[in-house]
Symmetry: C2
Subunit: 340 residues, 2 copies
């Protein structure tokens, strides 16, 4: 007893503990995990099994599909995959609110498109302004300030904005089954990244708190920034100029630029994720591609081929060809939101 206790003294224990994560993997490896259901909000069935069997295969040491931990990279789209994107992208709601907040200092906006459309709530005119109009709105609302100032704008807005239907902050309208999936993958040695068409600096202030994804694992669209010394204070100033659009064929480009290796698993919900799913899965080795199909108008929304935001058409056709898992939200998810 004495001998055992002295053998287990603090220093030895610390060294042993230190070495162990590399030997057994995070959260104690599979033997500890298998005891409980890591995905309680997912109904049993082929969709859930496609996820758990993939994870079992890539984490089975010595098995034919074993993937070393550094290569276990998973990328998640955000809008419609991790949080609600209807009736419009959250960042668009932020943009419209910013236009309204800034309007008093821009009296000319009430006669000038696309600002007029925003101030009058004329979504038809707004849609007619197209991508050029949107870029113009982003330029006046997202630029001409430092990165620190923008982060504060986003944080303050998210703290007060409420979803019109669910009367909740947007950061609560995240999908509980996907939160479980993120945690489950991380517990099995995956590094989880976001790869979103949304603004990288719009997401970073809250992804760590809400999804457990740190800023350095967020990939997204961006505007250009310029380094400036203001007296002795170094700043990054946001310029009204698009730097990168992380959507569609841009997603593999952004993933390569930020991560530098091909993901093993990718999760999306729209045609904007098609190329990310292709890039991830159409390669040797075990791969998981998954599409969240919004089929639940009662608990959330039902949309696909005709949707204005999150249109799912080509990627839905490509799913069976490429053996991507398609989540039928209504049938596969027991619960949609954490607060339910």
């Amino acid at each position: 007893m004495e001998r055992i206790q002295s053998g287990l003294n603090r220093r030895l224990l610390l060294s042993a503990f230190a070495a162990l994560p590399t030997l057994i993997g995070p959260l104690g490896g599979r033997s500890a995990r298998a005891q409980t259901d890591a995905l309680p909000s997912w109904n049993d069935g082929p969709v859930k099994t496609s996820i758990t069997s993939f994870v079992t295969r890539v984490t089975t040491q010595g098995g034919p599909d074993f993937v070393p931990m550094p290569e276990r990279i998973a990328t998640f789209d955000n809008d419609g995959t991790l949080w609600v994107e209807q009736p419009m992208y959250v960042q668009l709601a932020f943009t419209l609110d910013r236009v309204k907040a800034q309007a008093p200092s821009h009296p000319d906006w009430k006669d000038k498109q696309p600002f007029k459309a925003v101030l009058e709530g004329d979504f038809k005119a707004l849609a007619a302004a197209g991508e050029k109009g949107l870029v113009e709105l982003v330029a006046v609302t997202h630029a001409d300030m430092t990165t620190t100032e923008f982060t504060k704008l986003v944080t303050d807005w998210l703290a007060s904005a409420r979803d019109a239907r669910f009367k909740r902050p947007h950061t609560e309208l995240v999908y509980q089954p996907m939160l479980e999936l993120l945690a489950y993958l991380r517990a099995n040695g995956f590094k989880t990244f976001i790869a979103s068409g949304g603004g990288i600096e719009f997401m970073r202030p809250w992804t760590e708190r809400v999804y457990g994804v740190p800023p350095e694992q967020v990939v997204g669209s961006s505007i250009k920034t310029r380094f400036q010394m203001r007296d002795t204070v170094p700043t990054l100033f946001r310029l009204p100029e698009i730097n990168f659009i992380d959507d569609g064929p841009g997603k593999p480009v952004g993933i390569n630029e930020h991560i530098g290796r091909r993901p093993t698993a990718a999760f999306g919900n729209s045609d904007g994720d098609l190329q990310m799913l292709q890039w991830t899965t159409l390669s040797a080795g075990p791969r998981l591609g998954l599409i969240v199909h919004h089929t639940d108008a009662e608990r959330e929304y039902a949309y696909d081929r005709q949707a204005h935001f999150g249109k799912l058409d080509k990627a839905l056709d490509a799913a069976p060809v490429n053996k991507w898992t398609v989540v039928n939200m209504k049938n596969d998810w027991k619960k949609i939101f954490p607060f339910q």
Copy 2:
């Protein structure tokens, strides 16, 4: 005895081990680390102390300078900070070798600058071609191929190329004290990143093996890429167009784009690192800025204000003003390379 052994069964141990890293930090926390010198190739003195006292302060829980682990971000320049950059950047040597290798399929190059200069070894003419000439050389040697093809070119070249003076592969000409510093910071909960003016895809094939820095923690200059489906094979094709120059005022921009938070510590050796050092250190909280000053012509090289590659002038003047640590290579490093 029986009771203790059954209490220490595999499952319980695994759960305990799993929980511990979060409680005690990587590598057993400071109490285990303090037993040995983590920086054996650094001579004792104020430079070494400035590093160890900084690390002690930011990792002392409850202390005034404690930094939570997710915010322990350290960025390292590569050329001249982690590996040798004389008599020219390694990537420039690669570029010149590629021009020579490709020359047989380009008979016009022997009469056309800047190619003529490269083929004739006329460095004066090459210097005269300036940045425009260099961009042209990069375009023909680094583009018009897939990312996979480029990775193979770099890997093959590094396997056969030898430094003219040291007769070693470039990946062996890395600074042993800096390797120890990288490991020491990681052991104390830092995430270590590279932030280099060099090509991001030129570094990623080997940084994990050589520095322990995975591809997703490498920030560098890049050219544009385009996603293409070639039949059913997804590819990223490298275009002959500069995307981003991660040097000088570009470094804080690249760091912000990739990491999304301000580093706590930054390590460089030239004026190309000035803005990274400013961005990192001129902010509230504990900060470490460090410059490697090449002062050892015998064991490596001695250069600063007049250097063509790795010029250290403004940053050297800024060091005392901003309390940056300046490493005097000759005095502070016991050993330069791992093989010595």
